[in-house]
């Protein structure tokens, strides 16, 4: 190989520069603060399902609720967590506890850069604490 020394050095410089954001952050950067969710202030301690399930699957559950209410007219949801019956309603049931959209929904959604369209139509509670 001609000019092997120059090429290899050049490649090393290129790789170092191209990956600089990664190792610079690894050495000196601070990891961005994970969002802290504001938990319900109305004294309620459990959600309609287990916490871990809700963190991972709330979007699917909301879609199921939407289809059940709108398409089949079913409004009662029986929790597998505590066998209680809940009204399948975003604004009545979810927002009854998680009354502050900015501090609850938006905290994670902004962090993860997802923009669900729930609130294009559904109305967030006014005068949330």
């Amino acid at each position: 190989m001609y000019d092997a020394g120059k090429i290899i050095v050049g490649l090393l410089v290129f790789v170092a520069l191209a990956t600089s954001p990664l190792w610079f952050n690894a050495l000196f950067g601070e990891s961005p603060a994970a969002p802290e969710l504001k938990l319900p202030t109305n004294g309620s301690t459990e959600c309609v399902e287990a916490r871990d399930f809700m963190v991972a699957n709330h979007m699917d559950l909301l879609n199921q609720w939407r289809d059940a209410v709108v398409r089949t007219g079913t409004r009662d949801y029986v929790s597998t967590l505590n066998n209680k019956t809940y009204d399948m309603s975003l604004s009545r049931t979810c927002m009854d506890c998680h009354s502050n959209k900015t501090e609850f929904c938006d905290a994670c959604h902004t962090y993860l850069a997802v923009s669900p369209y729930c609130w294009d139509c559904h109305v967030e509670p006014k005068g949330a604490d």
């Binding site: 939407r66 709108v70 398409r71 409004r75 604004s91 009545r92 139509c121 109305v123």
Partner: protein, 284 residues
């Protein structure tokens, strides 16, 4: 050789006759079942319907407006003022002759002539709007006959607006929140690019309430109930009184009825006011 060709042609001819004959039989059978299926009231389960008593509405000039306000407030229906292009309405009024323009009226009674008539989605038994929806965002519910809408699924193609012969569907050309002063948080608004209409207040029915417009009427000016129940108020009223429906000739089977009896038959309710009404006097 000749014999076998002859046999072959015979067989081919018979097969051709058999095939065309069978397909024409099938075609005629299909046609008869297509016409036989519609224009029959659903016989099973609940069939919700509304009866608007125009005799009583003609006595209370502001009642229709109050019904409209209650409905539009409960469902966050935007108001863009006198801008017909952006108008969104679930329930509204037209004068009597316009509302029933497919029926000809000459020299009609004064208490009906030009009177504002309350109009809304007819929740047809044979709704043309649901057939044209490409996304099944609107459909007739099997359980009670309500012509329902799924605003999550509507793509705003407006086929249903064109298909509805009653003008019951409105399109949101603008973001509806621009036309709302107070938003009721118990009901969603819609977004721009979505069609909306009356849903017979299915969300209120699910909570055991009457529709918003019916609740405003304290004296059975609007009666709401199950058409399949012979003892229901709607059936009683239809059995006793003369009622008409809008554009019934189209075969859509609208389920909003309008009682047009002579208001003098209302004497049991308010004798003095009724005599005024019958003579075409002041209906305030």
């Amino acid at each position: 050789m000749d014999g076998s060709r002859r046999e072959f042609l015979k067989l081919a001819g018979l097969t051709a006759i058999g095939a065309t004959g069978a397909s024409s039989v099938r075609a005629s059978g299909g046609a008869s079942s297509a016409t036989g299926g519609h224009a029959e009231a659903s016989s099973d389960g609940v069939r919700l319907a509304m009866v608007v008593d125009l005799r009583k509405f003609s006595r209370d000039g502001s009642l229709a407006e109050r019904c409209i306000e209650a409905c539009h407030r409960a469902h966050n229906v935007p108001d863009f003022g006198d801008d017909p292009k952006n108008e969104v309405k679930w329930i509204w009024t037209e004068d009597f002759e316009t509302a029933f323009h497919s029926q000809e009226f000459h020299f009609i009674r004064e208490d009906l002539k030009g009177k504002p008539t309350l109009l809304l989605c007819n929740h047809c038994d044979n709704p043309p709007c649901t057939r044209v929806c490409p996304t099944q965002a609107t459909w007739k519910r099997d359980a009670d006959g309500i012509v329902m809408m799924d605003w999550h699924r509507c793509i705003g193609c407006r086929y249903c607006v064109v298909a509805c012969p009653y003008g019951s569907r409105s399109f949101n050309w603008k973001n509806p929140r621009l036309g709302l002063e107070d938003i009721d948080i118990n009901f969603p608004t819609r977004m721009r690019g979505v069609v909306e209409k009356c849903t017979f207040c299915e969300e209120r029915l699910a909570r055991g309430q009457q529709p918003a417009c019916v609740e405003v009427c304290s004296n059975d000016e609007i009666v709401f109930g199950d058409l399949n129940d012979p003892g229901s108020k709607v059936r009683q009223l239809l059995a006793e009184r003369m009622a008409i429906r809008r554009k019934s000739g189209l075969g859509t089977q609208p389920e909003v009825y309008y009682v047009i009896d002579d208001p003098r038959t209302l004497q049991e309710f308010a004798p003095a006011a009724v005599v005024d009404g019958a003579e075409g006097g002041d209906h305030a």
